[in-house]
Symmetry: C7
Subunit: 94 residues, 7 copies
């Protein structure tokens, strides 16, 4: 069973805390917004979104930084995912 | 009696909790927004919506993920439906 | 005496509760928005509304679903009507 | 002394309650918005308003329905008027 | 010393209450917005404002009606003025 | 060390209260917004700002009126400056 | 490990308080917004952002002034960074 995001949305999977620490990334929080490291699982087709053409530049497998409160959580076969708009992804980590 | 959604709206029917569990999807909630699995029953014609051309890409029979608080509930012949905008549908589940 | 709605507005008349039950429609409410069945009485001319061209697709006599809190109530010759924008009509019931 | 409304504004005068009753219109209120019957006294020139071309379709002498909380009250020579945008006029009553 | 308003702003001077009464205008207030009579002292050049071309149609010396809470008060040489956008002027009084 | 404002921003320096009094300007405050006299120190390059072309018309050395709560305060070498958008400047004083 | 900002975002690193004092910049705060000096570490590619073409004019190594509450904090290898939109950078300090 797979989740195919619509429009300019992407499906991401949070990277485990252990993995995060190992890779040297520790996230500092502030009161309003806490970033998190995640892996891109699936990318929507883009196209016209709210009357504007959106081109998808994210790719499956990329490690990304996002805002904690963006998007919607779903759990499939015991694995938690987040569906959010590409514009809510702040940066790619390499 | 049938409901024909207008503009960029779609009519969906929530998939029963039992069916959801059987298909392996368990939805994690957060405080602001809880996703849900639903089946697309009817799709509006699209066209100009708030001055912007909207093309409908959803099809009847698709299983979709949505935000719980989007749309309006209606009950016809004992069956509950939700009418919401296509843009409130997050993803297709296959 | 008649009410001629302006711009993209329509005048509707709520369908009686008895009639609603007879036709098999029972409306489920949620805390934020309760849909209602109504009949379209009069349709505005459309045209430029807030800088955007609006085409009217509703017709007199149609049964429609709407949000309870949309529009403005008026009472003429003992009959209550609601004036609201065409975009606040969710679906046509047939 | 006369009031010449600017841009897409119109000047209206509330129709007396007695006259309203005589003409058979009784207005039902809801908590948020109460409609009222008024007569159009003066119509602005229209033109570019907030970057959009507005064409005036209201005419002096028309009886109209409006929202009670729209516009600004002024009193000239003992007569109270309301200045509001043409788009706040809901319908013409004939 | 003079104030030259920028963009689509105008400088106005409130007409004294005595003068207002003499001219027969008494302003009715409501809870949200109280209109006032003022004289146009200076008119900005118009031009592009927030990406939209604004043409100035007000002229020095005109008597105008405005909303009390629009604009910013300044006092120069003991005289109080208000700087506000042309679109906050409701009507010209003649 | 100098501050070069970006986009449609300008750097201004408040004119001392003594100087303000001497020049005959006394600012009347209201509860929401208090204007202030300032001198333009540096003007940004303008250009595309939020998808709109902005042309800078302010010049260094001009005395201007602004809203007190617009912009951001910075202190360099003991001198306090304010960085704000050109559109937050209400008028030029000559 | 590097952070590559997306769209119109930039990655900046706060300049140490000691360094700030040495360079003569002391930041005055107000209740709503406190500016800060930072160094640009990485600049996104720009391009279409929310339907508008954004061109990046910031460069790595520049010292900039920003609003304290803009952007999202991240910590990588013990170093704290902020990811924010180019439009949240107020000025370049030279």
């Amino acid at each position: 069973m797979t989740i195919k995001p619509l429009a300019d949305r992407v499906v991401i999977k949070m990277v485990e805390a252990e993995e995060t620490t190992k890779s040297g990334i520790i996230l500092a929080g502030n009161a309003k917004e806490k970033p998190q490291v995640a892996e891109v699982i699936s990318v929507g087709p883009g196209g016209m979104v709210d009357g504007k053409e959106v081109k998808m530049y994210l790719k499956e497998g990329q490690k990304v930084l996002m805002s904690q409160y963006a998007g919607t959580n779903v759990k499939i076969d015991g694995q938690e995912y987040i569906i959010l708009r590409q514009s809510d992804i702040l940066a790619v980590v390499e």
